[in-house]
């Protein structure tokens, strides 16, 4: 499990802003904090850190979201589960990428 801290910059338009907030609240991976002005702090929990990357990309395309900044990502749980790839793996050019 990976936990990320993010800041979303919301649109100025109240209608689009409301729609964005509704969509963000409906996403069970997200926990929203208290916005300051247009800036909304939130945390994202994803099964893998790599899924967090995709989530951020999705947030960028959400109507009413103007920008997404990353503040932190913690994937210590994930590494304790044995992923990502072991740093001891032996690579060679015939090896398919992971």
């Amino acid at each position: 499990m990976a936990i990320s801290g993010l800041v979303i910059t919301l649109d100025d338009d109240p209608e689009r802003r409301r729609a964005a907030l509704a969509a963000l609240r409906a996403d069970e991976r997200l926990t929203l904090g208290e916005p300051t002005g247009n800036h909304l702090p939130l945390i994202a929990e994803t099964r893998r850190a790599r899924e967090g990357v995709e989530l951020i990309e999705d947030l960028f395309t959400q109507p009413g979201v103007r920008f997404v900044d990353v503040v932190s990502v913690d994937m210590s749980d994930e590494l304790e589960d044995g992923d990502p790839a072991s740093a001891d793996s032996v690579g060679d050019p015939s090896h398919e990428e992971g």
Partner: protein, 801 residues
């Protein structure tokens, strides 16, 4: 409290602090410290990817990177990161990390020991030093680049070294040199916080430098008025945020700049006082040289007379009204204007010309030298400035802005390196395109480069026209390719010998970002298997050469070129078991630092960078023993090298009178234009998800899933004519090569009719089989942004990516 809840609370606390800072433009009353995650130790490092220079805090647990946080103490990113920064820790852990030296045996690679690998490299060099070249990059750390440069220039006595940065910012360098007599921007990122108008010349920072772009977007969110203008050849994510999107025909940005200059003169709205006091005028000489020839103001004005708004509209497609709008803005003294550019003006056969013209627009209008008034080029790699431009890992350069063609500069280098007189060659080595051409040409046909050692780059995919510049070398007997890399890139797979490298926080490092900021970090985790530092590889090969008896590996007192002592005893740093007995980075940096004072690029001692989140040079010691960085060069209020009492002083002026040069550069058509046979313009570039040729980012599964393969962006009208819909395979063909790839219509970017765009991140779909290797006459930087192609629907079909 449960550990998981603890981490969540810490993440929310950090995000709340960042949100408050973004909303208010300042720190909240009680900024908290980094999340104290149990069992995790934190240290600072700059991000591995682009040239912005964001600082991250890296969390390490049990020998692995387990957490990343934006560094709140970093002025560049103020605690924030982009989506690439999010996964920077994961870039270490792709499953196919290279972990052992591998030697080609026919179609296979066999693991060998390091000693044998070093012996092979040293023998190739020893037997044919003139035929050996190093090809590096702006991803070399400063000490790595310095070690490579010293091995070649001080040791082998050749100048056969060039970096991939030749392909990305060489024209910015020649632009700065021709205008100010010295490289790198006068301003810094602080300008983004102060400008009223931000103009992006062929630049897409929303995707390529997102943290910098968000700095401006956040100002708007706080209610500040900032006008954003995008001058480009296709619509991008940046365009969506801009009040003005000016679409120009490829190559005609030169006409647009001339149109602004013309109107400033015609209307008399240029800054006469600034120009009379601080500038001179220049134009191309015959034969053409980087310094050109002086012309007077009247001659300058006369030459620009033809660039009326209507004429510029005819050439560029930008409306006369928009040209007037730009001239109106530059003609106002009450506004502060910052220009940003990156690959658009640089990857241009007239790259030096358009770079000097952007400077000219700012100088003529006096929009220079006040916070918010600056022409600032950005770089794409983490140390394109620090390692390439400042250390000087270029075929013509020496450290600190010195050049090999000047006898005086060579003497300075020989003195600092304690070399016998004449060791440093005055003959510049081959620039990137020429180096690879010589490597891909048989020896008896003039192909004088026989062994190339590549570090930290992927020329098999990033060189232009690879069918001609790279591929032939793999079929010519006697050509030997050595590749130091982290992953089996396309270049590594084509190599004769592969050396596994450590990356990022697996080694000590220093880099320099786009705003002259030098940054430092310490090794935090060990590299996998037998992967080792690139700087160690260079020093170990130098030692092998020393043992073989190469005379260049000794200074004039007979000491090894990379001799390092502790307590009067030599430390055998060429033996990896002892490499970390001392801080080799610190030793190399302190040696390099002595060069930086010649051109007022002063760097502080290594330990100052340990304490800071980077410092912008010149960094000058104060009477109280502290070190002060410089944000705004050439401006009397901030730059310590400006003569007392002067408002501005261009103290490296090419005319030696403290003045900058305003250039006239005529519009000239590009070397290849669409015609009946090849009717489309091809532009290449990057995408948000991937960095460079994708060797790191394509190993992050989610990024790869988000953008799994290259595509060709087509305008809907062109697609209709070609009977192509999104996902259809099309054949893209130039006079040099062809490629089949899927079409994407109305995707992220929107090219105008007659133009197509292809990203270069996908190693399996190498667009550089199609591109042109024509390059700027001064910078030698190739033009990846335009060549002529034809497009047809393929007989085969595939699903949409």
């Amino acid at each position: 409290m449960e550990r998981r809840q603890f981490i969540k609370n810490a993440a929310m606390a950090s995000a709340t602090v960042a949100a408050t800072r973004l909303a208010l433009g300042k720190d909240p009353p009680k900024p908290d410290s980094l999340p104290p995650t149990p069992g995790v130790t934190w240290d600072k490092a700059p991000c591995r990817f682009c040239g912005t220079g964001c600082h991250v805090q890296v969390g390490v647990k049990n020998g692995k990177v387990v957490a990343i946080a934006g560094d709140r103490k970093a002025e560049v990113n103020k605690g924030l990161l982009c989506v690439k920064g999010y996964h920077v820790g994961l870039a270490l852990y792709g499953k196919d990390r290279l972990t052992r030296p591998l030697l080609r045996k026919g179609d296979r690679f066999e693991p060998i020991g390091w000693d044998q690998a070093l012996e092979i490299v040293a023998r190739r060099i020893f037997d044919d030093p003139e035929g050996f070249a190093i090809y590096g990059s702006g991803q070399w750390t400063i000490p790595e680049g310095y070690a490579a440069l010293k091995l070649v220039k001080a040791g082998l006595g050749t100048n056969n070294i060039d970096p991939n940065a030749r392909l990305c910012m060489a024209s910015a360098v020649t632009g700065f040199l021709a205008t100010y007599g010295v490289d790198e921007p006068a301003g810094c990122y602080d300008d983004l916080d102060e400008c009223d108008v931000l103009i992006m010349w062929g630049n897409n920072p929303a995707e390529m430098h997102p943290v910098l772009f968000s700095r401006v977007i956040d100002r708007r969110s706080r209610g500040e008025k900032v006008t954003l203008i995008d001058i480009g050849t296709r619509r991008t994510r940046t365009s969506e945020h801009c009040q003005h999107h000016l679409l120009f025909k490829p190559h005609t940005d030169i006409a647009v700049a001339n149109g602004i200059l013309h109107l400033l003169l015609e209307r008399g709205t240029y800054d006469r006082a600034f120009v009379e006091k601080h500038c001179r005028f220049r134009a191309d000489s015959d034969p053409a040289t980087l310094q050109g020839k002086e012309i007077g103001f009247d001659e300058f004005k006369r030459r620009l007379a033809e660039y009326t708004p209507e004429r510029v509209q005819q050439i560029s497609g930008v409306s006369a009204q928009d040209i007037r709008m730009l001239a109106d803005l530059f003609g106002r003294r009450d506004l502060r204007i910052t220009s940003l550019w990156c690959m658009g003006p640089n990857q241009h056969t007239r790259g030096t010309a358009i770079n000097t013209l952007i400077h000219a627009v700012h100088l003529l209008s006096g929009h220079f030298g006040r916070p918010g008034d600056a022409p600032t080029s950005l770089t794409g790699q983490p140390s394109a400035c620090g390692t390439v431009r400042e250390v000087g890992t270029l075929a013509h350069a020496l450290p600190g802005g010195l050049v090999v063609s000047q006898a005086e500069d060579r003497k300075k280098a020989e003195k600092l390196w304690n070399l016998p007189e004449g060791r440093v060659s005055g003959k510049p080595g081959p620039h990137t395109v020429e180096l690879w051409r010589r490597f891909s040409t048989p020896k008896d046909e003039g192909g004088t480069i026989n062994t190339v050692w590549v570090q930290v780059t992927n020329p098999a995919r990033s060189l232009p026209n690879v069918n001609e510049l790279f591929e032939p070398s793999r079929r010519i007997d006697g050509k030997f390719l050595i590749v130091s890399d982290v992953y089996p890139s396309a270049t590594a797979q084509a190599a004769d010998l592969i050396l596994p490298s450590a990356m990022w926080v697996e080694k000590n490092g220093m880099v320099g970002n786009s705003e002259r900021r030098t940054q430092q970090w310490f090794r935090m985790v060990k590299p996998p298997g037998e992967a080792r530092d690139d700087a160690w590889q260079l020093i170990a090969v130098a030692r092998k050469l020393y043992e073989l008896g190469h005379p260049g590996m000794k200074d004039k007192d007979g000491r090894f070129l990379f001799a390092m002592e502790q307590g009067g005893v030599e430390v055998p740093v060429w033996d990896y078991r002892h490499y970390y007995d001392i801080n080799v980075d610190s030793r190399l940096f302190e040696e390099y630092r002595t060069f930086t004072r010649f051109k007022h690029k002063d760097l502080a001692p290594y330990d100052e960078y340990v304490k800071a989140r980077g410092l912008r040079w010149p960094v000058v010691e104060q009477p109280d023993g502290t070190w002060r960085e410089t944000k705004f060069r050439f401006a009397g209020f901030d730059d310590p090298y400006v003569k007392k009492g002067q408002e501005f002083d261009f103290y490296h002026s090419t005319t030696k009178d403290g003045r900058a040069q305003i250039w006239f550069r005529p519009y000239q058509p590009p070397p290849e234009v669409p015609d009946a046979e090849y009717p489309f313009w091809l532009c290449t570039g990057r995408v948000l998800e991937h960095w460079h040729t994708g060797t790191m980012t394509m190993r992050i599964p989610q990024l790869r899933r988000a953008m799994p393969q290259a595509y060709v962006e087509l305008n809907p009208a062109d697609a209709k004519k070609l009977r192509v819909t999104s996902g259809d395979l099309v054949v893209l063909e130039s006079r040099r090569g062809q490629l089949e790839l899927p079409a994407w219509i109305e995707g992220r970017g929107a090219p105008p009719p007659g133009t197509v765009f292809v990203p270069f991140f996908d190693e399996s779909l190498p667009i550089n089989r199609v591109t042109l290797d024509a390059h700027d006459p001064f910078s030698k930087q190739p033009d990846y942004k335009k060549c002529a192609v034809r497009v047809r629907r393929s007989a085969r079909r595939i699903a949409r990516p």
